[in-house]
């Protein structure tokens, strides 16, 4: 397997980041996950973390070095997450369950398999065009499909953020699976949360990521989305991968899994916990206060 991959999650204008991303790969299989913890509900970031962690853990256990049934893996992983969230709710006696959307993709043997619940999306881009994308589980998507409203109207519709499937809600989630999709050299897969795709149309992703260095191009797109999103911009997260044929000489940042042993799995997953960026900064007053406090403790405990 040969591919270039980049992931990044930004807080946007929100008080905290409830998005989570991860990717893991073994010698012959790659997993990518994006989850968007739902802000309207408490502990959205916990639900999202549970989603990426459950899938990553399962992948590390089962990708030896390939998964026997990728679709079944995705189904099991997402269902397990759903139940893990319900268990968490019960254990901590939360009034309402935390919820998260989730989109996950497996690539092995040059074939991509993906599944999603909610409105986090996957785009498959080839030759600068969007080949296919996931369909959101939202009311608005249904309305558009029934011809009740147009895409243009949808952008301003009051219900545009309402979704009817997610992990963690009391109703069992509706998980939608892709077809088995063979990949060509240079194909780009973008998994992202609504904070990103809401601002950057799929065509823009396809054209700007074509032949570009993902490590540079994705942060630029994120910045653009953040600017468009304005002061109250939603959290935005992206995992983007370029699939690269083994025979073609590629950029040095490409990851080759040829040298990995059969049972080895590499993961990139941020540790659980709040992002430090939303810890309040220490003000000058607080510094003075802390020093004062330490000095009085020294005086108090120093034998005279």
């Amino acid at each position: 397997m040969r591919f270039t991959i980049y992931q990044e999650s930004r807080q946007g204008g929100r008080a905290n980041n409830e998005d989570r991303t991860t990717y893991c790969y073994s010698r012959d299989a790659l997993l990518m996950v994006v989850a968007d913890g739902m802000g309207g509900h408490h502990y959205g970031e916990i639900a999202a973390q549970l989603a990426v962690q459950t899938l990553a853990d399962a992948f590390q256990r089962e990708a030896r070095p390939i998964l026997t049934d990728p679709f079944r893996f995705l189904q099991k992983g997402m269902t397990n997450t759903h139940h893990a969230i319900l268990d968490y709710t019960a254990r901590h006696r939360l009034k309402d369950t935390p919820r998260t959307t989730c989109v996950a993709c497996i690539i092995q043997d040059n074939v991509a398999y993906w599944a999603h619940a909610g409105d986090s999306r996957l785009y498959l881009c080839r030759d600068g065009k969007v080949l296919t994308q996931t369909k959101d589980h939202s009311r608005i998507r249904l309305l558009i499909e029934e011809g009740m409203i147009t895409e243009a109207q949808a952008a301003f519709h009051p219900d545009r953020n309402k979704i009817y499937s997610c992990l963690g809600s009391p109703h069992p989630p509706e998980i939608e699976f892709s077809r088995k999709t063979p990949l060509d050299h240079g194909d780009i897969l973008v998994l992202s949360t609504d904070g990103f795709w809401g601002e950057i149309p799929g065509e823009t992703m396809a054209t700007s990521l074509k032949d570009a260095n993902l490590v540079q191009a994705v942060p630029l797109l994120l910045t653009e989305a953040e600017l468009k999103g304005g002061d109250h911009c939603d959290n935005l997260s992206v995992v983007a991968v370029r699939w690269e044929d083994t025979y073609v000489d590629t950029a040095s940042s490409a990851i080759s899994t040829q040298t990995m042993s059969q049972n080895e799995v590499t993961s990139r997953l941020d540790e659980f916990g709040r992002n430090p960026a939303y810890k309040s900064d220490l003000s000058d007053d607080e510094i003075e206060k802390a020093i004062e406090e330490i000095r009085s403790a020294i005086d108090k405990y120093t034998p005279k």
Binding site: K279, L282, I287, A290, I291, P303
Partner: protein
């Protein structure tokens, strides 16, 4: 990001009421100086200066902190305060004492007592493999007094190792460098990586760190004792988790030290934290306890045998 070493303050520099004599050590998080106060007493001054976030170039006094790092720099300062707060509350002969704390040059400073002596690390290097059991028991029992005080204040040291155990000239040990004595850093700040030293850090230091507890410091105590015998650090815990090649003290020094001491070292170095001594007290008790092997019972005479036989069913 390229890491550059920070320049220390120049010798003879006047910092509040102290005069810098020289730099004692340079870490990734701080610089420690030897200084003299107005009464002529020697003190150690620790300057908060994380390498990755603040840079003092040659000839400058104030470090340069870029705007993007200011948040992280201030956050690290919070941790430095935690270390200060932790130490200020501890007043124990086996724990280093904080004398003063102040703000200058856009950063903060912690003044600590300084005494002549050397670290256990230096002692081990000098006496490669020739450290007596009496010395080990003596130093570690008293060092554990200090560690007990630390734990009873609901703190963990988390970076115990021979170079953080200071020996005064009369060989009384003092715990120094509580820079890692904070747990929040681990998951919060990617730039300020949690600090640990391979060989002395417990398996819980790696990974999620949710299992950290007194037993983690106890692993480090065991590793430090092991280092006293071996002259070098034992195999790092993360490597041991993959393939454990650490020869148990019981096998490596069989007959050269008392079985009890070797047993204690192996007990502390259990990879599973549940199998280690769970408190410093338990470990200390084992260290000072004199073990009397069970005496064989005197062979009972025939009446005794008869009575025993009658007793058995009850």
């Amino acid at each position: 990001m390229a890491q550059q070493a920070n320049q220390p303050l120049p010798n003879g520099f006047t910092l509040e009421e102290y005069t810098i004599d020289r730099q004692l050590s340079l870490g990734g998080f701080s610089i420690v100086y030897l200084a003299t106060d107005h009464a002529g007493e020697q003190v150690a001054i620790k300057e908060y200066l994380p390498n990755s976030l603040a840079l003092r170039t040659r000839g400058e006094i104030n470090p340069v902190i870029s705007a993007e790092h200011l948040g992280a720099f201030r956050y690290g300062m919070k941790c430095f305060f935690e270390e200060g707060r932790a130490l200020a509350r501890l007043s124990h002969p086996n724990v280093i004492r904080v004398l003063n704390f102040f703000r200058a040059n856009e950063t903060v400073y912690m003044v600590m007592e300084y005494e002549h002596g050397r670290t256990l690390q230096e002692f081990i290097q000098k006496h490669q493999g020739h450290i007596s059991e009496r010395f080990i028991r003596g130093v570690f029992t008293r060092m554990l007094n200090g560690l007990r005080e630390v734990h009873s204040n609901k703190l963990l040291h988390l970076d115990l190792k021979p170079s953080n155990i200071y020996l005064r000239s009369d060989n009384t040990p003092v715990l120094i460098d509580f820079g890692a004595a904070r747990q929040t850093l681990a998951t919060d700040q990617p730039i300020l990586k949690p600090m640990y030293t391979p060989g002395f850090a417990s398996p819980e230091h790696y990974g999620s760190r949710k299992d950290l507890g007194p037993w983690s410091d106890i692993y480090s105590v065991g590793a430090s004792m092991y280092a006293c015998l071996a002259g070098s650090a034992p195999q790092a815990a993360d490597l041991r988790m993959k393939k454990d090649t650490l020869v148990p003290a019981m096998m490596r020094w069989d007959g050269q030290f008392s079985d009890r001491l070797l047993e204690i070292i192996d007990w502390c170095l259990n990879l599973n934290h549940l199998y280690r001594p769970q408190s410093v007290f338990a470990l200390q008790k084992a260290l000072v306890e004199t073990v009397t092997p069970p005496r064989p019972k005197p062979a009972p005479n025939w009446i005794g045998r008869f009575v025993d036989k009658l007793r058995k069913p009850i």
